[in-house]
């Protein structure tokens, strides 16, 4: 019989690898998300042109594009399990928290992959002034963690409903709003030369709060009532 502490970590790692391999085999989620992000970026650029002198608008647009891409794709990990009826298998091999953490880390990597493509394209297309990379990357990193934590939790909830994906955007939006607001504010600040400490602290605090809540809540999610 396996030991309890280490098996949690092993479960998370095994699940993470499974998610990555699954994504690689089907390539279903990442392609769609990238296409979505690039399309929204292109539409935005087409509609407003270059915005070199408006860091406030740029910040807002960047995060709207990223948010939309996230909303369109982060629910997949759980929705696919529900539709493939593989949750029973999951629940029999790993604890709810391990399942959640594995998928959360996957969603985090997913977000980073999208941003690796979208961010440079955004900066180029929109004629953005050069960013303060330290600040911008810090904001992105913390916002990603908060986004992943919130989105994974909400996805786990809506995957068990009739609405599934359709419900995800509406139900997760209020929970994602603090991240959006802080991220936009911080992104704008780093372009205006203002300090971003407050936004970073807020994002970090929110991420921690969400993770703490997750640890308590995931146990209640899959009792298959």
């Amino acid at each position: 019989m396996p030991a309890s502490g280490s098996s949690s970590g092993r479960a998370v790692w095994a699940i993470l690898r499974k998610e990555c391999r699954s994504e690689w085999r089907t390539r279903y989620g990442l392609n769609a998300a990238l296409l979505f992000a690039v399309t929204s970026l292109a539409s935005t650029s087409f509609a407003v042109g270059r915005m070199s002198d408006r860091p406030d608008v740029l910040a807002a647009l960047l995060w709207v594009v990223l948010l939309f891409a996230a909303l369109a794709s982060l629910a997949h990990t759980f929705v696919r399990e529900t539709e493939g009826h593989t949750m029973v298998l999951m629940r029999l091999v790993a604890s709810p928290t391990a399942i959640a953490m594995g998928k959360l880390i996957f969603n985090l990597l997913f977000l980073v992959s999208i941003e690796l493509v979208t961010l440079p394209l955004f900066l180029a297309f929109m004629g953005a002034p050069p960013p303060r990379w330290g600040a911008l990357l810090a904001i992105l990193a913390l916002a990603n963690v908060a986004l992943a934590a919130a989105a994974t939790l909400v996805a786990a909830v809506i995957a068990q409903t009739r609405g599934r994906g359709a419900l995800f955007a509406g139900v997760s939006f209020p929970v994602l709003l603090p991240v959006l607001a802080a991220a936009v504010s911080g992104t704008r600040a780093q372009w205006s030369g203002a300090p971003v400490g407050a936004e970073l602290r807020l994002l970090a605090a929110y991420a921690v709060a969400l993770l703490a809540a997750s640890l308590l809540l995931y146990d209640h999610l899959w009792e298959d009532a």
């Binding site: 919130a150 009739r162 929970v175 802080a182 407050a198 969400l210 009532a225």
Partner: protein
């Protein structure tokens, strides 16, 4: 019975007083009257949200469906009052500042609460089994509970910096004239009583609905 009648009389009387007895605040003019309805409605919105969230957490702890009935009822009623608060706030904003919506911190907060209520009720409507619905709704309630304080703190930061000329909120100065204060708190009390009354009615309906479902389910199908 007597209690309900008294409550109605109370509210009616103070509404009349709001129009004939209480004076106007100079800055606000005739729009003073709105604050007697708008602020109590906003207060009930928050009260209902708190009630709903507490019962959601209690459900997770105790698994008694009664808590779910309370949480769901509170959410429905809270949504109604939230709409009242938002609309009355928008009307007041139009009269005072010329625009229905400004993304002023208070307006943003109430809008955010509207979103939470709507999301919660949408989630509920997408699940058929009572126990699963109660459980998932309660989990979402807990998530929202985490996000509320952050939005209260984030909003002032981002929007005060976007609007460098702060829109002076005159509400803070209103409670000066004693007559206004009296009417205001009386109606605040009245609205709170109204909320709990409607809440109890809605919960009773929910209990009956639940029992009907049970009877229909376990009964004579074959």
């Amino acid at each position: 019975m007597i209690g309900r009648a008294l409550l109605l009389l109370w509210i009616a009387a103070w509404i009349v007083a709001a129009f004939v007895w209480a004076p106007l605040v100079p800055v606000l003019g005739e729009t003073t009257r709105v604050l007697y309805f708008h602020i109590p409605a906003a207060w009930v919105t928050v009260l209902a949200l708190g009630w709903s969230m507490i019962h959601s957490l209690l459900y997770l702890k105790r698994r008694n469906l009664e808590h779910d009935h309370q949480a769901a009822a509170a959410a429905e009623i809270g949504l109604m009052f939230c709409v009242v608060a938002t609309v009355s706030g928008a009307l007041w904003a139009k009269a005072m500042w010329g625009a229905y919506w400004n993304w002023d911190p208070r307006e943003t907060s109430i809008f955010f609460l509207l979103l939470i209520y709507a999301a919660y009720l949408a989630l509920r409507s997408a699940i058929d089994q009572p126990e699963r619905r109660a459980r998932l709704a309660a989990v979402y309630s807990a998530i929202a509970f985490v996000s509320v304080p952050f939005l209260i703190f984030v909003v002032p930061r981002i929007y005060f910096s976007l609007h460098p000329d702060p829109i002076i909120n005159p509400r803070g100065k209103v409670d000066m004239d004693p007559r206004i204060r009296v009417v205001f708190f009386a109606l605040l009390l009245g609205f709170t009583g109204l909320y709990f009354w409607v809440q109890s009615l809605r919960v009773r309906v929910a209990r009956v609905e639940h029992r009907m479902e049970e009877r229909r389910g376990s009964g004579n199908v074959g």
